[in-house]
Structures are given as C-alpha cells and as structure tokens.
C-alpha cells in the first residue's frame, strides 16, 4: 500500500521534473548552433559539451554556453538518480554524441586535443567508451 503510493509519488515527481525541463525555452536559437555545427565552427566534445572550434558570432557563443548549462543540469539530474558523478554522465553522453550524432564534415574534440573533422568512418572513441554489451 505504502509502497504503491511511493511509486506513484515518484512517477509524478519524475513527470513534473521532465515537464519543467521540456518547458524551458531552449529551442529559440538552436538553428544558429546547428548552422555553426555544419560550418565546423562549433563541435561536440568527448566531455559531453559543445565547444567553440572557430570564429563564431556572439549569439552563437551565448547559445552554446546556454546549451552547455542546460546539459549540465540534465547530467546532474541523471547522475543523482544513478548515484554517479556528473562527469561520468557527461562522458557517457560524449561517447554517444561522438559515435552517433556527429556527421561527416562536422568537427569534434577529444580531451584537450585539437579539433578534428569527422571523415566517412566512425570516430576513434576514447577507451572508456567501450560499448561492451
């Protein structure tokens, strides 16, 4: 009885939290960032955040910062649920963005390395990304 109530309460809490995150006005400028991604002036990093790889407008720079702040919030939320560090969640997300989001011609960066342009083949991921199972 109590357990069922707790589960329902937890579900409601999760639904509310998700609703709040979704409701945040984040999609306003993402077109500019998408264009910068195509242009190779903004790219995904293995650390799970976007980075500035070239010369960008202030608007794009601000939007990248804004996205990264929101990403951190989402990472922090998941890290709390899984009992891991924010850095781990961010790194796991970085593995995903590099392996399946970055398109050929777009740029990416691993660690403090130089920005690289993705070719036709898959990106050589950091060792900790190993998708075992």
């Amino acid at each position: 009885m109590t357990r069922k109530f707790l589960m329902i309460a937890a579900s409601v809490a999760v639904a509310l939290a998700t609703g709040l995150i979704m409701a945040s006005p984040a999609r306003a400028q993402s077109g500019a960032v998408a264009a910068a991604l195509s242009a190779g002036t903004v790219g995904e990093q293995a650390d799970g955040y976007l980075g500035i790889a070239g010369s960008v407008s202030d608007a794009v720079r601000q939007e990248v910062e804004s996205i990264n702040i929101k990403r951190r919030a989402v990472y922090t939320d998941l890290a709390g649920k899984r009992g891991v560090t924010v850095q781990d969640v961010a790194a796991a997300t970085g593995c995903q963005t590099l392996s399946s989001r970055v398109k050929p011609g777009q740029v990416y960066r691993i660690g403090a390395g130089a920005w690289q342009t993705k070719g036709a083949g898959p990106i050589a991921l950091p060792g900790y990304c190993a998708t075992a199972g």
Partner: protein, 62 residues
C-alpha cells in the same frame, strides 16, 4: 570449494608452523582501480545517455 581448500591449507600451516607471520611490505600497496571503475560506469550509462539525448533534442542540435 576453493575457499575450503585455502582454509584447510591455512590450518595445516598453523599446525605445522605454529603461527603464521604476516609481514607488512616496505612500500605501500597501491591499487589503481579508477580507470576500470570509470569505464564500467560509463559503459553502464550508455543507454541512459542515449535516452537523455532523445529526450532533450533541443540540447543536442545536429
């Protein structure tokens, strides 16, 4: 099974030698598990990360 063997061997040692001496090594024993642990955590989080990206498309423009 193996544990029992070890325990038996231990008692045999006790019986034969009277006592077991454990000497601390000169240098501290250093076991570095950080890399391995991080890898396991990150691998375990891959599925969550996929969901996270799909649920927050505005944070992952392409």
């Amino acid at each position: 099974m193996k544990k029992r063997t070890i325990i038996t061997a231990g008692f045999a040692g006790l019986a034969l030698g009277g006592c077991i001496q454990v000497k601390a090594p000169d240098k501290p024993i250093e076991i570095n598990l950080n890399v391995k642990v991080q890898q396991e955590v990150v691998v375990r989080l891959q599925r969550d990360a996929q969901d996270l990206i799909q649920n927050n498309p505005e944070l992952f423009p392409q």
